[in-house]
């Protein structure tokens, strides 16, 4: 099985990335992923965002395994 992950982007982040879903090679950790994204999509640099791994918000650097669902979440604005 190739070491790939699914990436979902929401709200303003999906607009800046130009897609709401990507499949990429697993960068191994959330902080490595964040660095790669900011390099590849400089428009993300001024933005605040959090990440969820398998639908749970992460609070600190987290290892990422193949097959996991990673989500890029701008500040929530429901209600």
């Amino acid at each position: 099985m190739p070491d790939r992950i699914r990436l979902k982007a929401f709200g303003m982040l999906a607009e800046k990335i130009g897609a709401d879903s990507l499949e990429i090679e697993n960068p191994g950790s959330s902080e490595t992923l964040r660095r790669l994204l900011l390099e590849q999509f400089p428009a993300l640099q001024p933005l605040t965002f959090r990440m969820a791994v398998d639908r749970k918000l992460i609070q600190a650097e987290t290892d990422i395994s193949a097959g996991q669902e990673i989500a890029l979440l701008p500040p929530f604005s429901g209600g």
Partner: protein
């Protein structure tokens, strides 16, 4: 006796209509251990922005995560307050100014539990559910809503 609960869909396509709210209230007439209902409704405001006036908000969400989180919030609130019932509905899609986009409904034997639970639910829904509102302005510009 503990009732086992499972995640429920909280999302409604389009605005929440007054008739739906009335139906939801009427459905509780048979629950004769209820003494008080507390309801919060969020309505789309025609805010004036430098780039134009808000005419609608388009809501999107990360549905699987939102439903898991809403379930966790429900369980927390049921554990904390002696509630008889709790209902949460949030709109998705384009909701025009004056329309209702959020309907939170709690019921309990005595009024204080329903009121406090309703307040806390609204705070947690706004802070913790992965939902995003894009404001549509009368200038055709759009901008992402920021919760304050």
């Amino acid at each position: 006796m503990e009732k086992v609960r499972s995640p429920k869909n909280i999302f409604v396509q389009g605005p929440i209509l007054a008739e739906k709210i009335a139906q939801s209230i009427a459905n509780h007439a048979t629950k004769t251990d209820i003494g008080g209902h507390s309801i919060f409704l969020g309505q789309i405001r025609a805010d004036e922005k430098p780039e134009g006036k808000v005419i609608a908000i388009e809501y999107t969400c990360y549905e699987e995560m939102a439903l898991e989180k809403a379930f966790e919030i429900r369980e927390d609130i049921f554990a904390k307050y002696p509630l008889t019932c709790m209902h949460i509905y949030h709109s998705l899609g384009e909701i025009k100014v004056g329309e209702i986009c959020l309907f939170v409904f709690t019921s309990s034997k005595h009024r204080k539990a329903a009121m406090q639970a309703c307040d806390e639910l609204v705070e947690r829904i706004k802070a913790e559910l992965p939902i995003w509102g894009k404001e549509i302005l009368d200038s055709s510009a759009t901008q992402w809503k920021v919760n304050t």
